[in-house]
Symmetry: C2
Subunit: 191 residues, 2 copies
Protein backbone atom coordinates (compact mmCIF):
# COMPACT_ATOMS: atom_id res chain seq x y z
CA UNK A 1 0.00 0.00 0.00
CA UNK A 2 2.81 2.36 0.89
CA UNK A 3 4.66 1.51 -2.27
CA UNK A 4 1.45 1.63 -4.25
CA UNK A 5 0.66 5.14 -3.15
CA UNK A 6 4.25 6.16 -3.62
CA UNK A 7 4.32 5.00 -7.22
CA UNK A 8 0.89 6.48 -7.84
CA UNK A 9 2.21 9.74 -6.49
CA UNK A 10 5.34 9.65 -8.60
CA UNK A 11 3.31 8.95 -11.72
CA UNK A 12 1.14 11.93 -10.95
CA UNK A 13 4.16 14.09 -10.32
CA UNK A 14 5.78 13.19 -13.62
CA UNK A 15 2.50 13.43 -15.50
CA UNK A 16 1.88 16.88 -14.11
CA UNK A 17 5.27 18.09 -15.19
CA UNK A 18 4.66 16.72 -18.68
CA UNK A 19 1.21 18.28 -18.68
CA UNK A 20 2.57 21.69 -17.85
CA UNK A 21 5.41 21.39 -20.33
CA UNK A 22 3.69 19.81 -23.32
CA UNK A 23 -0.04 19.48 -22.67
CA UNK A 24 -2.23 16.46 -22.09
CA UNK A 25 -2.36 15.37 -25.72
CA UNK A 26 1.36 15.63 -26.26
CA UNK A 27 2.65 13.18 -23.67
CA UNK A 28 2.18 9.43 -23.56
CA UNK A 29 2.24 6.62 -21.05
CA UNK A 30 5.58 5.74 -22.64
CA UNK A 31 7.02 9.12 -21.65
CA UNK A 32 6.00 8.58 -18.04
CA UNK A 33 7.31 5.02 -18.10
CA UNK A 34 10.69 6.15 -19.39
CA UNK A 35 11.08 8.83 -16.76
CA UNK A 36 9.93 6.53 -13.97
CA UNK A 37 12.06 3.55 -15.07
CA UNK A 38 9.08 1.25 -15.27
CA UNK A 39 7.30 -0.57 -18.11
CA UNK A 40 4.50 1.26 -19.82
CA UNK A 41 2.03 -1.55 -19.12
CA UNK A 42 2.64 -1.24 -15.39
CA UNK A 43 1.21 2.24 -15.41
CA UNK A 44 -2.20 0.83 -16.25
CA UNK A 45 -2.17 -0.94 -12.91
CA UNK A 46 -2.18 2.43 -11.17
CA UNK A 47 -4.24 4.40 -13.67
CA UNK A 48 -6.33 2.08 -15.81
CA UNK A 49 -6.71 4.58 -18.63
CA UNK A 50 -5.21 7.89 -19.63
CA UNK A 51 -8.61 9.41 -18.91
CA UNK A 52 -8.28 8.22 -15.32
CA UNK A 53 -4.84 9.74 -15.06
CA UNK A 54 -6.17 12.96 -16.52
CA UNK A 55 -8.97 13.05 -14.00
CA UNK A 56 -6.47 12.51 -11.20
CA UNK A 57 -4.40 15.39 -12.54
CA UNK A 58 -7.40 17.71 -12.63
CA UNK A 59 -8.44 16.55 -9.18
CA UNK A 60 -5.01 17.09 -7.74
CA UNK A 61 -4.80 20.55 -9.20
CA UNK A 62 -8.20 21.61 -7.92
CA UNK A 63 -7.54 20.16 -4.47
CA UNK A 64 -4.11 21.74 -4.25
CA UNK A 65 -5.61 25.10 -5.15
CA UNK A 66 -8.27 24.67 -2.51
CA UNK A 67 -5.71 23.80 0.14
CA UNK A 68 -3.46 26.64 -0.93
CA UNK A 69 -6.24 29.19 -0.63
CA UNK A 70 -7.44 27.84 2.70
CA UNK A 71 -3.84 28.11 3.86
CA UNK A 72 -3.86 31.78 2.94
CA UNK A 73 -7.11 32.27 4.83
CA UNK A 74 -5.64 30.73 7.96
CA UNK A 75 -2.79 33.21 7.91
CA UNK A 76 -5.26 36.03 8.64
CA UNK A 77 -3.53 38.50 6.35
CA UNK A 78 -4.57 41.87 5.03
CA UNK A 79 -6.25 41.89 1.61
CA UNK A 80 -3.03 43.15 0.04
CA UNK A 81 -1.01 40.37 1.60
CA UNK A 82 -3.63 37.82 0.60
CA UNK A 83 -3.41 39.03 -2.97
CA UNK A 84 0.37 38.83 -2.94
CA UNK A 85 0.17 35.21 -1.80
CA UNK A 86 -2.37 34.52 -4.50
CA UNK A 87 -0.22 36.03 -7.24
CA UNK A 88 2.93 34.14 -6.26
CA UNK A 89 2.40 30.78 -7.99
CA UNK A 90 1.28 32.47 -11.20
CA UNK A 91 4.28 34.76 -11.17
CA UNK A 92 6.61 31.84 -10.58
CA UNK A 93 5.14 29.93 -13.49
CA UNK A 94 5.42 32.91 -15.79
CA UNK A 95 9.07 33.31 -14.87
CA UNK A 96 9.87 29.78 -16.02
CA UNK A 97 8.92 30.92 -19.54
CA UNK A 98 8.19 27.26 -20.13
CA UNK A 99 5.61 25.80 -17.80
CA UNK A 100 1.88 26.38 -18.11
CA UNK A 101 -0.51 26.44 -15.20
CA UNK A 102 -2.20 23.01 -15.26
CA UNK A 103 -5.55 24.76 -15.28
CA UNK A 104 -4.51 26.95 -18.16
CA UNK A 105 -3.26 24.18 -20.39
CA UNK A 106 -6.32 22.07 -19.62
CA UNK A 107 -8.52 24.99 -20.57
CA UNK A 108 -6.64 25.40 -23.84
CA UNK A 109 -7.11 21.72 -24.70
CA UNK A 110 -10.60 21.65 -23.25
CA UNK A 111 -12.57 20.15 -26.16
CA UNK A 112 -10.17 17.24 -26.49
CA UNK A 113 -10.23 16.19 -22.84
CA UNK A 114 -12.33 13.40 -21.34
CA UNK A 115 -15.57 14.71 -19.81
CA UNK A 116 -14.79 13.96 -16.14
CA UNK A 117 -11.48 15.72 -16.52
CA UNK A 118 -13.23 18.72 -18.03
CA UNK A 119 -15.68 18.94 -15.17
CA UNK A 120 -13.14 18.63 -12.43
CA UNK A 121 -10.89 21.27 -13.91
CA UNK A 122 -13.74 23.72 -14.43
CA UNK A 123 -14.06 23.51 -10.68
CA UNK A 124 -10.48 24.70 -10.39
CA UNK A 125 -11.43 27.99 -11.97
CA UNK A 126 -14.58 28.17 -9.91
CA UNK A 127 -12.50 27.66 -6.77
CA UNK A 128 -9.98 30.39 -7.44
CA UNK A 129 -12.59 32.76 -8.83
CA UNK A 130 -14.82 32.33 -5.81
CA UNK A 131 -11.96 32.89 -3.42
CA UNK A 132 -10.62 35.92 -5.24
CA UNK A 133 -14.09 37.45 -5.53
CA UNK A 134 -14.53 37.09 -1.78
CA UNK A 135 -11.18 38.70 -1.00
CA UNK A 136 -11.93 41.59 -3.33
CA UNK A 137 -15.42 42.05 -1.89
CA UNK A 138 -14.21 42.05 1.68
CA UNK A 139 -11.21 44.18 0.88
CA UNK A 140 -13.36 46.83 -0.68
CA UNK A 141 -15.94 46.66 2.10
CA UNK A 142 -13.23 47.25 4.66
CA UNK A 143 -11.97 50.22 2.68
CA UNK A 144 -8.56 48.72 2.09
CA UNK A 145 -9.14 48.11 -1.62
CA UNK A 146 -10.61 50.59 -4.03
CA UNK A 147 -11.91 49.73 -7.49
CA UNK A 148 -14.94 50.36 -9.66
CA UNK A 149 -15.94 47.12 -11.34
CA UNK A 150 -17.91 44.34 -9.71
CA UNK A 151 -15.68 42.09 -7.63
CA UNK A 152 -16.67 39.01 -9.66
CA UNK A 153 -15.67 40.78 -12.87
CA UNK A 154 -12.47 42.12 -11.40
CA UNK A 155 -11.65 38.61 -10.24
CA UNK A 156 -12.11 37.24 -13.74
CA UNK A 157 -9.98 40.04 -15.12
CA UNK A 158 -7.16 39.32 -12.70
CA UNK A 159 -7.21 35.57 -13.31
CA UNK A 160 -7.32 36.14 -17.06
CA UNK A 161 -4.36 38.49 -16.84
CA UNK A 162 -2.31 36.02 -14.83
CA UNK A 163 -3.13 33.02 -17.01
CA UNK A 164 -2.57 35.07 -20.13
CA UNK A 165 0.75 36.34 -18.85
CA UNK A 166 1.95 32.77 -18.33
CA UNK A 167 0.91 31.98 -21.89
CA UNK A 168 2.73 34.96 -23.36
CA UNK A 169 5.87 34.37 -21.32
CA UNK A 170 6.39 31.15 -23.28
CA UNK A 171 6.80 33.16 -26.46
CA UNK A 172 9.29 35.67 -25.02
CA UNK A 173 12.89 35.16 -23.97
CA UNK A 174 12.14 36.53 -20.53
CA UNK A 175 9.23 37.35 -18.26
CA UNK A 176 10.46 40.70 -17.06
CA UNK A 177 7.02 42.05 -17.71
CA UNK A 178 5.31 39.88 -15.11
CA UNK A 179 6.23 41.85 -11.99
CA UNK A 180 5.19 45.19 -13.50
CA UNK A 181 1.95 43.59 -14.67
CA UNK A 182 1.21 42.43 -11.14
CA UNK A 183 2.09 45.91 -9.97
CA UNK A 184 -0.39 47.32 -12.47
CA UNK A 185 -3.09 44.98 -11.19
CA UNK A 186 -2.49 46.30 -7.69
CA UNK A 187 -2.70 49.87 -8.91
CA UNK A 188 -6.07 49.04 -10.44
CA UNK A 189 -7.19 47.94 -6.97
CA UNK A 190 -6.21 51.24 -5.44
CA UNK A 191 -2.70 50.20 -4.44
Amino acid sequence: MAVHNDTRQQILEIAEELLQKRGFNAFSYQDIANELGIRKASLHYHYASKADLGLALAERHANRALGFLQGIDEMHLSPWQQLDEFFKPFVDLAKTCQLMCPGGIMAAEFETLPKPMQNRMCEYFTIIHTWLTRVLTQGRASGQLYFGAEPAIKAYAIIATLEGAILIAKTRQNADFIDPIVQDIKVSLGG
Copy 2:
Protein backbone atom coordinates in the same frame (compact mmCIF):
# COMPACT_ATOMS: atom_id res chain seq x y z
CA MET B 1 -2.82 27.13 -60.21
CA ALA B 2 -6.16 28.63 -59.37
CA VAL B 3 -7.48 25.29 -58.21
CA HIS B 4 -4.23 24.57 -56.46
CA ASN B 5 -4.40 27.75 -54.48
CA ASP B 6 -8.04 27.18 -53.78
CA THR B 7 -7.45 23.77 -52.26
CA ARG B 8 -4.42 25.06 -50.41
CA GLN B 9 -6.61 27.79 -49.04
CA GLN B 10 -9.37 25.42 -48.04
CA ILE B 11 -6.91 23.16 -46.27
CA LEU B 12 -5.58 26.12 -44.37
CA GLU B 13 -9.09 27.22 -43.49
CA ILE B 14 -10.08 23.83 -42.15
CA ALA B 15 -6.77 23.39 -40.37
CA GLU B 16 -7.13 26.74 -38.67
CA GLU B 17 -10.58 25.88 -37.42
CA LEU B 18 -9.29 22.58 -36.07
CA LEU B 19 -6.32 24.38 -34.55
CA GLN B 20 -8.55 26.80 -32.71
CA LYS B 21 -10.94 24.10 -31.60
CA ARG B 22 -8.57 21.31 -30.59
CA GLY B 23 -4.98 22.50 -30.87
CA PHE B 24 -2.19 21.55 -33.25
CA ASN B 25 -1.41 18.22 -31.63
CA ALA B 26 -5.01 17.08 -31.49
CA PHE B 27 -5.94 17.14 -35.15
CA SER B 28 -4.59 14.98 -37.94
CA TYR B 29 -4.26 15.06 -41.69
CA GLN B 30 -7.08 12.53 -41.65
CA ASP B 31 -9.40 15.03 -39.96
CA ILE B 32 -8.70 17.60 -42.65
CA ALA B 33 -9.10 15.02 -45.40
CA ASN B 34 -12.48 13.95 -44.07
CA GLU B 35 -13.79 17.48 -43.86
CA LEU B 36 -12.46 18.38 -47.28
CA GLY B 37 -13.65 15.17 -48.97
CA ILE B 38 -10.23 14.29 -50.23
CA ARG B 39 -7.75 11.48 -49.50
CA LYS B 40 -5.30 12.05 -46.71
CA ALA B 41 -2.31 11.40 -48.98
CA SER B 42 -3.39 14.20 -51.32
CA LEU B 43 -2.85 16.72 -48.58
CA HIS B 44 0.86 16.06 -48.70
CA TYR B 45 0.89 17.43 -52.24
CA HIS B 46 -0.12 20.82 -50.88
CA TYR B 47 1.69 20.70 -47.56
CA ALA B 48 4.51 18.17 -47.63
CA SER B 49 4.58 17.74 -43.86
CA LYS B 50 2.45 18.72 -40.92
CA ALA B 51 5.28 21.01 -39.88
CA ASP B 52 4.85 22.85 -43.19
CA LEU B 53 1.14 23.16 -42.61
CA GLY B 54 1.82 24.42 -39.11
CA LEU B 55 4.22 27.01 -40.41
CA ALA B 56 1.63 28.14 -42.94
CA LEU B 57 -0.91 28.46 -40.13
CA ALA B 58 1.44 30.57 -38.04
CA GLU B 59 2.36 32.63 -41.08
CA ARG B 60 -1.25 33.24 -42.00
CA HIS B 61 -2.11 34.25 -38.47
CA ALA B 62 0.78 36.70 -38.17
CA ASN B 63 0.10 38.18 -41.59
CA ARG B 64 -3.59 38.52 -40.96
CA ALA B 65 -2.87 40.31 -37.70
CA LEU B 66 -0.48 42.64 -39.47
CA GLY B 67 -3.03 43.43 -42.15
CA PHE B 68 -5.75 43.89 -39.59
CA LEU B 69 -3.72 46.37 -37.59
CA GLN B 70 -2.60 48.27 -40.68
CA GLY B 71 -6.25 48.45 -41.64
CA ILE B 72 -7.01 50.06 -38.31
CA ASP B 73 -4.21 52.56 -38.84
CA GLU B 74 -5.60 53.56 -42.20
CA MET B 75 -8.93 54.40 -40.64
CA HIS B 76 -7.30 57.31 -38.78
CA LEU B 77 -9.32 56.75 -35.63
CA SER B 78 -8.97 58.11 -32.13
CA PRO B 79 -6.98 55.99 -29.67
CA TRP B 80 -10.21 54.85 -28.05
CA GLN B 81 -11.67 53.77 -31.36
CA GLN B 82 -8.42 52.06 -32.29
CA LEU B 83 -8.53 50.14 -29.07
CA ASP B 84 -12.14 49.12 -29.65
CA GLU B 85 -11.20 47.75 -33.06
CA PHE B 86 -8.29 45.91 -31.51
CA PHE B 87 -10.45 44.33 -28.81
CA LYS B 88 -13.13 43.11 -31.21
CA PRO B 89 -11.63 39.85 -32.49
CA PHE B 90 -10.60 38.80 -28.98
CA VAL B 91 -14.06 39.55 -27.63
CA ASP B 92 -15.68 37.60 -30.44
CA LEU B 93 -13.48 34.59 -29.77
CA ALA B 94 -14.21 34.70 -26.06
CA LYS B 95 -17.92 34.76 -26.77
CA THR B 96 -17.73 31.50 -28.72
CA CYS B 97 -16.71 29.84 -25.44
CA GLN B 98 -15.06 27.29 -27.67
CA LEU B 99 -12.46 28.70 -30.02
CA MET B 100 -8.99 29.74 -28.98
CA CYS B 101 -7.01 32.50 -30.59
CA PRO B 102 -4.56 30.70 -32.92
CA GLY B 103 -1.74 32.58 -31.24
CA GLY B 104 -2.95 31.57 -27.81
CA ILE B 105 -3.24 27.88 -28.54
CA MET B 106 0.13 27.87 -30.28
CA ALA B 107 1.65 29.52 -27.24
CA ALA B 108 0.09 26.90 -24.99
CA GLU B 109 1.53 24.07 -27.09
CA PHE B 110 4.76 25.95 -27.73
CA GLU B 111 7.34 23.34 -26.71
CA THR B 112 5.77 20.66 -28.90
CA LEU B 113 5.67 22.73 -32.09
CA PRO B 114 8.19 22.60 -34.93
CA LYS B 115 10.83 25.32 -34.60
CA PRO B 116 9.86 27.39 -37.68
CA MET B 117 6.27 27.42 -36.49
CA GLN B 118 7.42 28.60 -33.06
CA ASN B 119 9.41 31.44 -34.54
CA ARG B 120 6.73 32.67 -36.86
CA MET B 121 4.10 32.69 -34.16
CA CYS B 122 6.31 34.52 -31.69
CA GLU B 123 6.28 37.24 -34.30
CA TYR B 124 2.51 37.36 -34.00
CA PHE B 125 2.81 38.47 -30.42
CA THR B 126 5.57 40.87 -31.29
CA ILE B 127 3.35 42.39 -33.99
CA ILE B 128 0.34 42.98 -31.80
CA HIS B 129 2.44 44.07 -28.83
CA THR B 130 4.38 46.56 -30.91
CA TRP B 131 1.21 47.99 -32.39
CA LEU B 132 -0.59 48.23 -29.08
CA THR B 133 2.42 49.81 -27.39
CA ARG B 134 2.52 52.45 -30.09
CA VAL B 135 -1.18 53.24 -29.78
CA LEU B 136 -0.89 53.52 -26.01
CA THR B 137 2.20 55.71 -26.24
CA GLN B 138 0.66 58.06 -28.75
CA GLY B 139 -2.68 58.10 -26.96
CA ARG B 140 -1.06 59.13 -23.73
CA ALA B 141 1.18 61.69 -25.41
CA SER B 142 -1.86 63.31 -26.98
CA GLY B 143 -3.55 63.40 -23.62
CA GLN B 144 -6.43 61.19 -24.69
CA LEU B 145 -5.33 58.21 -22.62
CA TYR B 146 -4.24 58.33 -19.02
CA PHE B 147 -2.41 55.54 -17.22
CA GLY B 148 0.59 55.06 -15.00
CA ALA B 149 2.52 52.04 -16.16
CA GLU B 150 4.92 51.97 -19.08
CA PRO B 151 3.08 51.56 -22.37
CA ALA B 152 4.98 48.35 -23.22
CA ILE B 153 3.95 46.86 -19.88
CA LYS B 154 0.38 48.02 -20.21
CA ALA B 155 0.30 46.48 -23.68
CA TYR B 156 1.46 43.13 -22.32
CA ALA B 157 -1.12 43.36 -19.54
CA ILE B 158 -3.93 44.02 -22.00
CA ILE B 159 -2.92 41.23 -24.37
CA ALA B 160 -2.55 38.84 -21.44
CA THR B 161 -5.98 39.76 -20.16
CA LEU B 162 -7.60 39.21 -23.55
CA GLU B 163 -5.84 35.90 -24.23
CA GLY B 164 -6.55 34.75 -20.71
CA ALA B 165 -10.20 35.70 -20.98
CA ILE B 166 -10.56 33.55 -24.10
CA LEU B 167 -8.97 30.69 -22.22
CA ILE B 168 -11.27 31.02 -19.24
CA ALA B 169 -14.39 31.42 -21.38
CA LYS B 170 -13.91 27.82 -22.51
CA THR B 171 -14.44 26.62 -18.97
CA ARG B 172 -17.59 28.68 -18.31
CA GLN B 173 -21.07 28.28 -19.77
CA ASN B 174 -21.05 31.86 -20.97
CA ALA B 175 -18.68 34.74 -21.55
CA ASP B 176 -20.79 37.46 -20.01
CA PHE B 177 -17.72 38.64 -18.19
CA ILE B 178 -15.84 39.61 -21.34
CA ASP B 179 -17.53 42.93 -22.04
CA PRO B 180 -17.17 44.15 -18.46
CA ILE B 181 -13.53 43.07 -18.50
CA VAL B 182 -12.91 45.13 -21.62
CA GLN B 183 -14.73 47.98 -19.91
CA ASP B 184 -12.39 47.59 -16.95
CA ILE B 185 -9.36 47.73 -19.24
CA LYS B 186 -10.66 50.98 -20.66
CA VAL B 187 -11.18 52.38 -17.18
CA SER B 188 -7.55 51.54 -16.41
CA LEU B 189 -6.58 53.68 -19.41
CA GLY B 190 -8.49 56.64 -18.09
CA GLY B 191 -11.75 55.90 -19.88
